[in-house]
């Protein structure tokens, strides 16, 4: 891990990166305009060949939160068995970030899921549409301002009676 950190510090402005460690999890926080550059550097120069997951967090109502959304990339280098969390942030109204599909093809469905649940738009994604929820769904349910029981989506079906079936 120390090697990766040194490599990153040698190639990026020190002010842009914020490193931290918690229970063997190594994390680096970057701004959204640097994240694509950082990810491609991690893949090409640091051998992080596997993208495990992309996920997001909504920090609405979170104490002392500076930004609305956190976007987290979970990377693994299979050679060195090294794991790294790359985290960036996004704020409304501009919830767009470049897609990671050109780097890792597996990012395709992960980004679709984040889009489905949080409404974060990945630019240049080959097929950005809902993956879990029905296409007609209009809200982003994992946002904290969305009510747990929904806005009536689960009740909007036609009722079939005995006589009709």
């Amino acid at each position: 891990m120390a090697d990766t950190q040194e490599q990153l510090l040698a190639n990026f402005d020190k002010a842009l990166l914020r490193f931290s460690t918690f229970r063997d999890n190594h994390r680096v926080v970057v701004s959204p305009d640097t994240v694509t550059k950082l990810l491609s550097f991690l893949k090409q120069s640091c051998d992080f060949d596997l993208l495990i997951d992309i996920t997001a967090v909504d920090y609405l109502h979170y104490p002392k939160a500076e930004h609305r959304f956190g976007l987290i990339y979970n990377l693994i280098c299979t050679d060195r068995e090294e794991r790294l969390f790359v985290k960036t942030w996004l704020d409304e109204p501009d919830l767009t970030i470049p897609s990671a599909v050109p780097l890792w093809t597996g990012a395709n469905w992960m980004e679709r899921e984040v889009f489905d649940m949080f409404g974060i738009v990945f630019e240049d994604h080959p097929d950005l549409r809902r993956i879990l929820l029905p296409d007609a769904f209009s809200a982003y349910p994992l946002r904290k301002d969305y009510p747990l029981r929904g806005r009536g989506e689960r009740h909007n079906f036609q009722r079939i009676t005995r006589a009709e079936s």
């Binding site: 879990l132 929820l133 029905p134 349910p141 969305y146 009510p147 747990l148 029981r149 929904g150 806005r151 989506e153 689960r154 009740h155 909007n156 079906f157 036609q158 009722r159 079939i160 009676t161 005995r162 006589a163 079936s165």
Partner: protein, 179 residues
């Protein structure tokens, strides 16, 4: 009717005969979406053995079934599928809502989970439990057999007829109230 019938001949009406045939050869359609499906399989397997009650022929096409067992939670994306499968089943047909989730949404009181399938399709029997034991499902099948024996008719259109009568009564009630 005074006829000298031999001991091995029984007289009955056509409706109960049809019901008797139907109730002892139910063909379930397993709509198993969650852990209830495992208990449903246990019910069909040798230890509990639903074939003792003539309902062992599980078919995975609704067109060959007359008993839908909804086992597990139904999410809103699945509801159109459930309704379509129900409509594809030929009359006469019955529905068992198995487990807490199918009957009420269970612990999943969220935007995506339908809070009881009986909001959207007709249900004959509810089986409580999370998940119910195979004995409970067998009990529900026996109860359903009782219901079929009591209510069925030869034409198999009793549900339509019952609904029609029900609507007629409801309309009469409204007229009585207004006049």
């Amino acid at each position: 009717m005074d006829m000298n019938l031999p001991d091995n001949v029984v007289l009955t009406k056509l409706d109960p005969l049809a019901n008797w045939c139907r109730k002892n050869s139910l063909w379930p359609m397993p709509f198993a979406t969650a852990c209830c499906g495992i208990e449903l399989m246990a019910m069909a397997a040798s230890r509990h053995d639903i074939s003792r009650f003539g309902a062992e022929v599980f078919r995975f096409t609704p067109r060959q079934c007359d008993l839908m067992i909804v086992a597990g939670r139904v999410v809103m994306k699945m509801m159109p599928v459930l309704q379509r499968i129900w409509l594809q089943m030929p009359e006469p047909k019955w529905c068992i809502s198995m487990g807490a989730c199918a009957s009420s949404g269970g612990i999943f009181d969220t935007y995506a989970v339908v809070q009881g399938i009986d909001h959207f399709i007709p249900v004959d029997l509810y089986v409580p439990g999370c998940p119910p034991r195979p004995e409970q499902i067998i009990r529900s099948v026996i109860d359903l057999q009782e219901k079929i024996q009591k209510e069925g008719s030869l034409s198999g259109t009793e549900f339509t007829e019952r609904e029609r009568q029900h609507r007629k009564r409801a309309l009469q009630d409204v007229l009585d109230d207004t006049l």
